[in-house]
């Protein structure tokens, strides 16, 4: 008894004793007068601590106890939850990193905007320096702006080389972003006004390279041949404005020519778009207003520029662009748009996985509730209210949600790292998918929603259950319909995911069976870097030496160099004039170009259909020659003898000496376009000063074995050719092709992964419900067998149940797939979103798996001993 109440009762007892009652009778009277101490104590508890809180604790403790008792259920539920929440969290954390998280350390990031041109092929194209100056001087809605370009090179500190990526930034960079230095000072407009050899390093780089040593301020950093003095360190969290890119240092933009050996043309040439531009809005100015001003200002500017070039295709293309102000709170938009599309599709896929997990958990909880119906009836009989029963189920769900979220959160870390590695594709992608509060909140919410939704149905079912029949009935019914509906839903979701997976996989297969016009196997590719630039003659020597060295390596059949390696994503085109062929006004008069060395076609395995390859004669010849592809002949020289015809481009007149077979150029997806191959040495003399050994990719075809064995050989050979030269990013041609199919591969891999996973989960669901039904119908099966049903009939009975689940699930899933697959069209290749084969494959996989899942219960049913079955309850 509560001591306070005990005191009161004792005093009352004493009063009665004083009145002459016998102590026992006195106590009885006292208790009577007081009125049930136990009940009052309970009232007091309710006052001290709200009822629901006490109940909640009780519910949770009870839930923990019951969950501990059913380990199998706990494990499968937590795994399913972890799968659903983990996948969703991983994708969400990537979206958060690319899209949502504002740039850390930047002052008022909401005021930062990116100013970009918009053209057909890019949503946020780079700007030119003249355009930047124009906007910088005229925009009234901004308080400051800057441009930057990525610079990447080997940099040397204290004699140690290291490949590093940084930015060349214009003067107001740090002012506009509102950053304060972690050490030393940041760059100012004065550093950029005249080329000043200074640099600022990122905090990360300071830690990595200098161990946060203050002596880093004043240290010397050599970029190519230019030495910069480090004057300061950026704030700790700052990641640069393009967060998927490593950002180790920043140097004044005016230093860029000294660093990269440029000629300064970018400063005055309005068509050299190589800079990313950002600005800070004046306080109170909206993005819409800034955007309107940018668009309006750009209009007359681009018209003035376009007027300087002749009317034609290119002029029209130039006029087909406009400029916009985009939100820059999360950083530059460039590559983000490339990532966001696959991420959005993936988010859709994992949302389906989550739905599946939801249905699965709900099914599990339902089955559990069915098994516990007797317990529930007993509790009801003892006076548990509806609300109390539902709450009990929700408590269990809550506990499950917590476990699932915890495991899912761990799984998500691993999964998002894997995804980033996939997206990085061997390159450095410094995307920080850190688990911040947003991601935590997301996982928690997702897990909770799944469990509450999953726990609500059985809870409400329990609340509806009547006491009497349930107490008497031994095996539970009642939940059958809902349970089956949930399995149908799981099958439908699996079907949708499987259709997606087979669409993606079929696209990938089709993509790889595309005729590229080349044999990509057995080809080695390597780029080179140099510490400095070379005069033309020396350049020539080095280039020839590399090709000759490659040619002499064991097992090499042919070697070559090209400034554009096909399927590398790049594009080089120019306008051409063709002898005896006038272009209509507005007709596309451009052609793709490539500058190659003799032997190129032997390396790529592209047949020369007509005429000859380049050879040593062409190098010194005054007669400029080209090889064109079939499409070029078809489109521009139809019905004519191409050899000996002349084409003019960039004021050089070329004679066609050969026709090569069509090959893919940019990537596997794009159709074949007309193309013109220039002889590399001739091209160098036509454009003196433009070409350097670093401008080419060197290629070699090996007769057998892994082409990558050439990489160490070439690495050793390079310094002997010239001490300043290094090999850079050696890879096989096949690897490069794989890079160009990155999105398709991600989709096929993850689509397939989740499709199979969904199939497994759904099969477990089918297995569960069939096994449950078989165990429920043992008596019936026994009777049927006793009446003469063959084992075959019993198996058919169970499999018919399976079919009753499969068919509606398959149909519903197909319907959903027809609606949803449209959104993935841009990732498909060679198949339509409603490709019958893809739907067929998915349906077949689903049917076979259902059959497999139904086999065990069916066999069990067929082995029922009629006598035993009839006797059991």
């Amino acid at each position: 008894m509560d001591p306070e109440i005990a005191y009161h009762v004792d005093r009352l007892t004493q009063d009665y004793v004083a009145q002459g009652l016998d102590p026992r009778e006195a106590r009885r009277r006292a208790l009577l007068e007081f009125g049930g101490p136990a009940q009052i104590e309970e009232d007091l508890r309710d006052i001290r601590r709200p009822r629901w809180l006490a109940d909640l604790r009780q519910d949770l403790v009870y839930a923990a106890r019951t969950l501990r008792r059913s380990r199998g259920f706990l494990a499968s539920a937590v795994l399913t939850l972890a799968l659903g929440t983990g996948a969703n969290t991983a994708i969400f954390s990537l979206i958060d990193a690319v899209m949502l998280r504002p740039m850390p350390a930047v002052r008022a990031p909401a005021e930062v905007v990116q100013i970009a041109r918009v053209m057909e092929e890019c949503g946020s194209c780079a700007v030119s320096y003249p355009l930047f100056e124009y906007f910088h001087d005229r925009l009234s809605s901004i308080s400051g702006s800057f441009v930057e370009m990525a610079i990447r090179h080997e940099i040397t500190i204290d004699g140690v080389d290291e490949d590093a990526t940084g930015s060349a930034v214009s003067g107001e960079y740090y002012q506009v972003l509102g950053l304060a230095p972690a050490a030393g000072r940041l760059l100012t407009p004065l550093d950029d006004a005249v080329p000043t050899p200074v640099a600022v390093i990122s905090y990360d780089y300071w830690r990595r390279r200098f161990g946060l040593d203050p002596a880093a301020i004043g240290a010397r950093l050599t970029y190519a041949t230019t030495t910069l003095t480090i004057v300061g360190v950026e704030p700790k969290e700052f990641e640069g404005t393009s967060r998927w890119r490593e950002h180790s240092f920043a140097a004044p933009l005016s230093m860029v020519d000294a660093l990269n050996g440029g000629n300064g043309k970018w400063r005055s040439e309005w068509s050299l778009n190589s800079l990313a531009m950002m600005a800070r809005l004046k306080s109170g100015v909206t993005l819409e207003r800034a955007n309107a001003e940018v668009t309006a200002l750009f209009e007359p500017w681009i018209h003035d520029r376009a007027a300087t070039i002749p009317v034609g295709f290119q002029r029209q293309q130039i006029l087909n662009q406009h400029a916009v102000a985009l939100s820059g709170a999360a950083g530059m938009n460039g590559l983000r748009l490339q990532f966001i599309k696959p991420l959005a599709i993936l988010m859709g896929i994992v949302a389906l996985v989550l739905l599946l997990a939801c249905a699965n958990i709900s099914g599990l909880l339902l089955a559990r509730a069915a098994a516990r119906q007797r317990e529930i009836s007993v509790r009801r009989a003892l006076g548990a209210s509806n609300g109390r029963l539902v709450r009990q189920f929700l408590a269990e769900s809550l506990l499950l949600a917590l476990c699932g979220a915890a495991v899912g959160f761990g799984a998500a870390q691993w999964f998002s790292r894997m995804l980033i590695n996939m997206m990085a594709n061997g390159d450095s992608l410094s995307l920080k998918a850190t688990a911040d509060w947003r991601v935590f909140a997301f996982t928690g919410a997702v897990s909770l929603v799944v469990c509450v939704l999953g726990g609500l149905a059985p809870g409400l079912g329990a609340a509806r259950a009547r006491i009497n029949p349930a107490l008497k009935e031994v095996r539970a019914g009642g939940y059958r319909h809902l349970g089956r509906l949930l399995v149908v839903a799981q099958l439908a979701i699996s079907m949708t995911l499987l259709v997606g997976a087979s669409l993606f996989i079929r696209s990938l297969v089709k993509l790889y069976s595309v005729d590229t016009g080349m044999r990509t196997g057995g080809v080695f590719l390597a780029n080179v870097t140099s510490k400095h630039h070379f005069p033309p003659a020396r350049s020539r020597e080095i280039e020839s030496a590399i090709i000759d060295d490659l040619r002499r390596m064991p097992g090499v059949m042919a070697s070559s160099a090209a400034n554009m390696v096909p399927l590398g994503g790049g594009e080089w085109n120019r306008e051409v004039q063709v002898e005896d062929r006038a272009f209509r006004p507005g007709e596309d008069n451009t052609t793709l170009l490539n500058a190659v060395s003799p032997g190129y076609f032997r390396v790529t395995g592209t047949p020369i259909l007509l005429g000859r390859d380049f050879d040593a004669r062409d190098e010194s010849s005054q007669n400029h020659v080209v090889i064109v592809n079939e499409s070029f002949v078809h489109q521009l020289l139809a019905g004519q003898q191409p050899l000996g015809k002349h084409v003019t481009s960039n004021n050089v007149r070329y004679e066609i000496i050969g026709v090569a077979a069509d090959t893919k150029y940019q990537n596997l997806r794009k159709g074949v376009s007309r193309e013109m191959y220039l002889e590399w040495v001739q091209q160098q003399s036509a454009e003196p000063g433009r070409w350097q050994p670093m401008g080419y990719t060197y290629m070699a075809r090996v007769s057998a074995g892994d082409p990558m064995r050439l990489a160490p050989l070439m690495e050793r050979a390079m310094p002997e050719i010239d001490p300043a030269m290094r090999i850079f990013r050696p890879q096989t041609f096949e690897d490069q092709v794989n890079e160009s199919t990155l999105n398709e591969r991600i989709m096929a891999t993850l689509g397939g992964f989740f499709g199979v996973l969904a199939l497994i989960v759904a099969c477990l669901g089918i297995f569960g419900i069939l096994a449950f039904q078989v165990s429920r119908r043992i008596n019936e099966i026994g009777i049927r067998m006793a009446l003469g049903a063959a084992r075959r009939d019993i198996v058919a009975l169970v499999l018919r149940e399976a079919a009753l689940i499969l068919v509606p699930g398959c149909l519903a899933g197909s319907l959903a797939a027809v609606v949803l697959s449209r959104f993935a069209t841009s990732f498909l290749f060679g198949v339509t979103p409603t490709d019958p084969a893809a739907f067929g494959i998915a349906a077949l996989a689903l049917a076979l798996s259902t059959l497999a899942a139904g086999y065990l219960p069916a066999r069990r049913a067929a082995r029922v001993d009629p006598m035993a079955a009839l006797r059991c309850d």
């Binding site: 001591p3 306070e4 009125g35 049930g36 009232d43 006052i47």
Partner: protein, 111 residues
Amino acid sequence: MASDKSDLLQGTLDMLVLKIIALEPAHGYGIAQRIQQISREVLQVQQGSLYPALHRLEKRGWLKAEWRASETGRDAKFYTLTRTGRKQLGEEAANWDRLAGAVELIMRTSE
């Protein structure tokens, strides 16, 4: 004798408890005794409802409780009025005066 006793008017228990404790700190039994003594045995506190009231008032911050030795030498839980409790008592007393006056006005009207 039972017919001479009246149940407490709804809502007045809190006020009475505050008033009794305002006189001097007291424990539950003492408060019940005091109410009976002062009302000359007319008002009978339902012992059971006294404690929930005390705990409620304590939770609202109008009372403070501490264990100390009682007149019998045994430890008992004594309740003391807090400053906000005193203010509350003032308000409730004023309220009661108004209510009692109003009731009296009605009952005194001659038929």
